[in-house]
């Protein structure tokens, strides 16, 4: 056992001893000491290694043994010291480096043509052999980009009233990545504070060129208006593209009418419904509705929620026969797209060498773990109950190993997250194995010709 680990052990024993006397001896928050324990006992280093090896850590002759070692990692240490172009030859090196440096953040970059740590030695030749060749297709969605359509919080804050917007994003993208692009191995991860990350890990996705990545991001890009442009979504054409039509009927419409409309009280005050009326291109209709809603002229019999009734009125006016004006037909859909359709941070997806925070990192501000999210169960995901670093340390302290073979994470609330990750991993590795086998067959075939 290394000296570092001894220290961690000691700390643990002290903590355990203390916990006999005090109910809660682990103060909330983020500290380097907790992080050390977390990296030593809970962080699923081996799983992450197996994931990023994509089957190349096996004994099969077609395995590319240098694959993992050409992956860039970067660490952010305390005080924002930023170490780029780190690489590890195997899981032992990675694990010991993480434990030793105790990074506040770990980022994952691309796989390069050569070991990124030795890139300068290769750069001498003038011919630039150092370039990224593989990288998961990634997406980053931040709640702060939705500030104009949520009223419960703003900026980096999230709550259960606005989080459904993230679920919409997960569902819309996940469905399209599978149905339209044919991808199968998609990992969704809570970013630790205000959003989600998506890692598409199929071989085909990892080999995409930048131009193709940018095009996929563009395929998902619907909200185009700037700050000063009220109309952010423009749906032209006689019908919607199949992707937009499917997203609308299967996800957006319900989410808007059953959740966002009520939880964000989108028609409850004048400034809120004004914002929606601005999307309507026909001024006479907008002012007709405005007149109806201004003051307290609500129909007295209605015990119905004001948001629901006003939305129904708006739909009725826009969709009734007398307004068959081109441009108005799309307006209900445009409002729903504006208020619910996923908003991506485009730059993250466009380039192979963009770094993205690794799953299972701890967010330094919230202390929450960046846990995987099961896209099929995303409606049940609650960002406010994601395990925090101090909670996990507390759980470790409060319980003892039930058996020799039991791993530490099994007796903490990280358990469910690691199980989600492992089920993603086992499907992924199965298909990697297939791909590696078929590569061999192809190359022997080629030799026979």
């Amino acid at each position: 056992m290394s000296k570092d680990e001894n220290l961690v052990e000691d700390k643990m024993q002290i903590d355990q001893h203390d916990s006999d006397r005090l109910q809660k001896n682990v103060p909330d928050g983020f500290s380097e000491d907790y992080l050390k324990v977390y990296y030593g006992k809970l962080f699923p280093c081996v799983d992450i290694y197996r994931w990023l090896s994509y089957g190349n850590d096996g004994k099969h002759p077609a395995c590319d043994q240098s694959y993992f070692g050409r992956r860039e990692f970067s660490f952010t240490l305390e005080n924002d010291i930023y170490l780029r172009f780190l690489s590890f030859n195997n899981v032992v090196e990675m694990e010991s480096s993480i434990r030793k440096k105790c990074p506040f953040k770990i980022d994952i970059g691309p796989v390069y043509t050569v070991d990124p740590a030795k890139r300068r030695a290769y750069a001498q030749g003038g011919n630039n052999v150092f370039s990224p060749i593989e990288r998961e297709l990634v997406f980053d969605i931040d709640m702060s980009d939705y500030d104009d359509v949520r009223y419960c919080c703003s900026g980096a804050d999230v709550c259960l009233d606005c989080w459904p917007l993230m679920n919409v994003a997960i569902k819309v993208l996940d469905m399209s990545l599978r149905e339209d692009f044919g991808f199968n191995h998609i990992l969704w991860v809570y970013s630790g504070r205000r959003g989600v990350h998506c890692w598409v890990c199929d071989g085909r996705a990892r080999r995409l060129r930048d131009e193709q990545r940018a095009s996929i991001a563009e395929y998902f890009h619907v909200n185009k208006g700037g700050e000063n442009n009220a109309k952010k979504v423009n749906l032209t054409g006689a019908v919607l593209h199949p992707f937009l039509a499917r997203s609308y009927t299967e996800v957006l419409k319900d989410s808007f009418e059953k959740k966002m409309l009520l939880s964000q009280k989108l028609f409850a005050s004048e400034d809120r419904f004004q914002k929606i009326l601005q999307i309507i291109p026909d001024d006479s209709i907008a002012s007709e509705l405005l007149d109806k809603w201004q003051g307290n002229r609500r129909s007295s019999i209605s015990k119905e929620d004001v948001n629901v009734s006003r939305w129904e009125q708006l739909k009725h006016v826009l969709q009734s026969g007398k307004h068959k004006v081109q441009g108005l037909r799309r307006c209900v859909e445009e409002i729903i797209f504006t208020y619910t359709f996923p908003r991506l941070d485009m730059e993250v997806s466009k380039h192979m060498n963009h770094l993205l925070k690794a799953p299972f990192c701890v967010h330094p501000k919230t202390g929450r773990i960046c846990v995987p999210i099961d896209p099929n169960d995303c409606d049940d995901f609650d960002p406010t109950t994601v395990p925090t670093l101090s909670q996990l340390i507390e759980e470790l302290n409060m319980s003892n190993k039930r058996s020799e073979s039991e791993e530490d994470w099994e007796r903490t609330s990280l358990r469910k997250s690691i199980e989600i990750f492992r089920s993603f991993l086992s499907a992924l590795l199965k298909s990697c194995k297939k791909e590696i086998n078929s590569n061999v067959r192809q190359s022997t075939d080629a030799r026979n010709w």
Partner: protein
């Protein structure tokens, strides 16, 4: 002259819009070309490619590009002998392959310009001709069967209507991996299903261009191998010098001799530096004034530029000697100055050594230089950004050493290292391994330099945006436009061109007031 190429009747070639039938350039021509044709054809094609490059980085729309390509092709690729037109096309393409196969950067540029050229030429063909080209190029796509069409018909109809078209029952559709038509699905102009895109006949240009690109990309790698293994040596005296010269990519006027009228005297040089030097020279000039020293790369870049703007040899010697006098002369002594520095200045003016008159560096050459720490030459738009301080910390180095290192770095990039960062070094050394690197972004340096040039506000953002997209020459052109408050459509390709254009504008302004 004979060209080996795919089976094709060259009869109606001249009838097509671009006066030569489109080629996929699958086979290198086996032919005898006169050496001057070899070079002239290549230069003509290079003018077309550079025109395209300029159009693209200025963000021209597809229709504008179509027009631009037609014009460029007409202007440069015609030949008085119609039967020679197609040869010129093919020969010039293969010569430029040799020129642009040799580094990653050159390959990338050539690949993207040739693909654009091919794309717009293909777009100008009629649908019938496009189909016959597709079968001639033997592309691996087959139209989908009637039965498959029926299963996706409804979706195809939906896509067509969503982009304001209607689905024609006899429209042919090709099924291709989505990766091959990024521009089509980016705009949601095709139907995607399980990783495949359904591409309508009128959209096939995207497919064909993708094939063209990947084919050419592979060929360039092979050509590079051939170049290094044989051609470079066997053609050492014949083709190689032409190839070398072409790859600088600079086709503008020769600035090695100053124009007769334009001679500058020493006393004007300060004023001219602040009014009419491009940023790359202004930066060198300021650094020289500030530190009384420049390393070799900087002395060459600035020295040749000054020669180009009309500083005579005698004045150049005086200029460098007086700049260096305060520091270097004390250290190296006047004797060594004469021996080493004066020699190289005289050398630049063709008075020593091989007595070649050296040419001032073009933008291409400045941009592709690789300044290291302590150098000030290169293109500020490119090198200010990537020239981040890289500090390799060796574990267990005494703290004092590292501190000294940080101070040194601080002198080089004042904006990059703050005092809190300085503290971090001292506190966190223990955790660092030998190869750990610390990077600083120095976009701020560029911003400061632009402000010093008198560029501000939105212009700076526009320039930085071009820089981020690696359009360094456009960034320089925008700077020129902001500094002189005048449009400059031809674009900056040469520091001396910047200077000349600036003088012209300023003189006109003086005359009109």
């Amino acid at each position: 002259m004979e060209i080996v190429r795919s089976q094709r009747e060259p009869t109606h070639a001249a009838a097509s819009t671009t006066s030569a039938k489109l080629s996929f350039y699958r086979f290198a021509p086996a032919l005898e070309v006169r050496l001057e044709d070899f070079e002239l054809y290549a230069i003509d094609r290079l003018r077309v490619l550079q025109g395209i490059s300029d159009g693209l980085s200025r963000g021209k729309k597809p229709e504008e590009m179509e027009k631009l390509v037609t014009e460029l092709w007409r202007a440069h690729m015609r030949h008085q002998d119609p039967s020679e037109v197609m040869n010129k096309d093919i020969i010039s393409h293969f010569v430029l392959r040799l020129v642009y196969c040799r580094t990653d950067e050159l390959r990338k540029w050539f690949l993207s310009m040739e693909t654009s050229l091919f794309r717009y030429r293909f777009r100008l063909e009629s649908p019938e001709s496009q189909r016959s080209l597709m079968s001639e190029f033997q592309l691996p796509y087959k139209a989908i069967s009637r039965a498959e069409f029926e299963t996706v018909k409804e979706k195809l109809n939906q896509v067509a209507r969503s982009i304001g078209q209607s689905l024609n029952a006899d429209t042919l559709f090709f099924k291709a991996p989505f990766e091959e038509v990024p521009e089509l699905f980016a705009g949601r102009r095709v139907f995607l299903q399980k990783g495949f895109a359904y591409v309508a006949m009128h959209q096939v240009v995207s497919l064909v261009a993708t094939q063209f690109r990947s084919n050419l990309s592979k060929c360039l790698v092979l050509t590079n191998r051939k170049w290094t293994s044989t051609i470079r040596d066997t053609e050492r005296d014949r083709l190689a010098p032409i190839i070398e010269a072409l790859s600088t990519g600079y086709l503008g006027p020769d600035y090695s001799q100053p124009k007769n009228s334009a001679e500058i005297s020493l006393k004007d040089i300060n004023g001219l530096a602040s009014s009419s030097f491009p940023l790359c020279m202004r930066h060198l000039f300021d650094k020289l004034r500030e530190t009384h020293h420049l390393k070799h790369g900087g002395r060459m870049q600035l020295g040749l530029f000054l020669k180009g703007v009309g500083l005579r040899l005698e004045d150049a010697l005086l200029f460098w000697k007086s700049e260096f006098s305060q520091k270097v002369l004390q250290i190296v002594g006047a004797e060594r100055f004469d021996k080493e520095y004066a020699y190289s200045i005289r050398h630049n003016y063709g008075k020593e050594g091989k007595r070649t008159d050296y040419t001032p560096y073009s933008c291409q050459k400045v941009i592709s230089s690789t300044p290291s720490t302590g150098d000030h030459h290169g293109c500020p738009y490119r090198h200010f950004r990537t020239d981040a301080v890289q500090i390799s910390l060796v574990q267990n180095f005494p703290t004092a050493f590292v501190a000294a290192f940080v101070v040194y770095a601080h002198l080089l990039h004042p904006s990059a290292i703050t005092s809190s960062l300085f503290d971090c070094f001292l506190t966190s050394l223990s955790g660092l391994a030998p190869d750990d690197l610390i990077y600083f972004n120095s976009e701020e340096n560029l911003r400061a330099a632009l402000t010093k040039m008198g560029v501000c506000g939105r212009s700076v953002d526009g320039i930085l945006d071009k820089v981020r997209n690696k359009h360094y020459q456009i960034a320089c052109t925008l700077t020129f436009e902001a500094v002189h408050d005048a449009p400059y459509d031809s674009g900056i390709n040469h520091p001396n061109q910047y200077f000349d254009a600036s003088r012209k504008i300023l003189q006109n302004k003086m005359e009109s007031t």
